[in-house]
Symmetry: C2
Subunit: 202 residues, 2 copies
């Protein structure tokens, strides 16, 4: 099938779930090519290396997730309610993944941060930017909640990082136990971390 | 050097930091043998597979960490103060690791949970047992705090899991940024998650 116009897209599409489920080091270019149905030469025509492909998968996944986070956290619902919806969407996403492949794959960015965080500088930088952007998006919502007197934290950015840390930690438990139940605690824990009460409308 | 009496110990000692820094899949038996200074035949005399070695490293690391957690969390200090000391020890441990190898390796159990959690059943089970034991140990301290009216949570076990999740999430940030600063938030976040106030003596 060679360097057809959709070969690059097919490689990305095949690599994404493999990277999410099996991690970076366990994955070989040959396996990705087989899954994508493209010859190895075609792979190296589009990607300089396995790392370059992984970075492209990370970018594509982040573009999708960013749209989702922006949609939920930028909506006109009340600030804390938007955070609740983010956790609900996270839980639904992990449940859908579990249904389609039998086990919870967790968060691609969290997985790669712990597997590769101190191994390749390019991947570390990209993952740092993504966690930075996630934290900033959550921090903006916390600032709005602060302005309405609904969150009692001295530093919105630090609080946002703690909310994201709690999310990553509970996703770790969800993956380890192959059970989405730990994600059900995100909302009350977020309220606790923000010194907040559940909004009346939630 | 062959199957000398200390070859097994040398393999375990060499494999531990490699597994912690580079993960499971990226690591080859040949590399471990070179680092340990033992021939490959010797490796397979002591370990049936790379997985068997990884499980032995996990067990050894957990035996050490369990002693540390039991010492800190089983001391006669006030319950919340014991939790504070656990976070302090976690931060000190990551800082020492950073000093000795240049980058923060994170938590071996968290790393392997996200890299291997849904790949080998034996490793998943072992990691589940460890996180179960960690959660139980923290839950006992929270129960004591509850009995003294110092923690306001409906379920000590769920609260303990959230405290451990927060710890794992902040260790992820510490590894990603190669900076122990995120671990400095563990104590106030723990208090928030437990609906607790800082003890007078802390």
């Amino acid at each position: 099938m060679g360097r057809t116009s959709d070969a690059k897209e097919r490689i990305l599409t095949a690599a994404h779930p493999l990277l999410e489920r099996r991690g970076y080091s366990a994955l070989g270019v040959a396996e990705i090519c087989t899954a994508a149905g493209v010859p190895k030469g075609s792979f190296y025509y589009f990607f300089a290396s396995k790392e370059a492909l992984a970075l492209a998968v990370i970018d594509e996944h982040w573009a999708t997730e960013k749209r989702e986070w922006d949609r939920i956290l930028g909506s006109d619902a009340e600030p804390l309610e938007r955070l609740r919806r983010l956790f609900e969407a996270t839980e639904a996403g992990q449940r859908a993944g579990q249904k389609s492949c039998g086990s919870i794959s967790g968060c691609l960015f969290g997985n790669l941060s712990l597997e590769m965080g101190n191994q390749t500088e390019a991947m570390r930088e990209r993952l740092q930017e993504i966690f930075e952007a996630r934290t900033e998006t959550v921090a903006r919502v916390i600032t709005e909640a602060q302005e309405r007197g609904e969150a009692a934290v001295p530093d919105a950015r630090a609080a946002a990082q703690s909310v994201v840390a709690q999310l990553e930690g509970q996703v770790l438990f969800a993956k380890l136990y192959n059970d989405t139940a730990p994600l059900g605690t995100l909302w009350v824990n977020c309220l606790a971390l923000l010194g907040a009460k559940a909004p009346v409308h939630a």
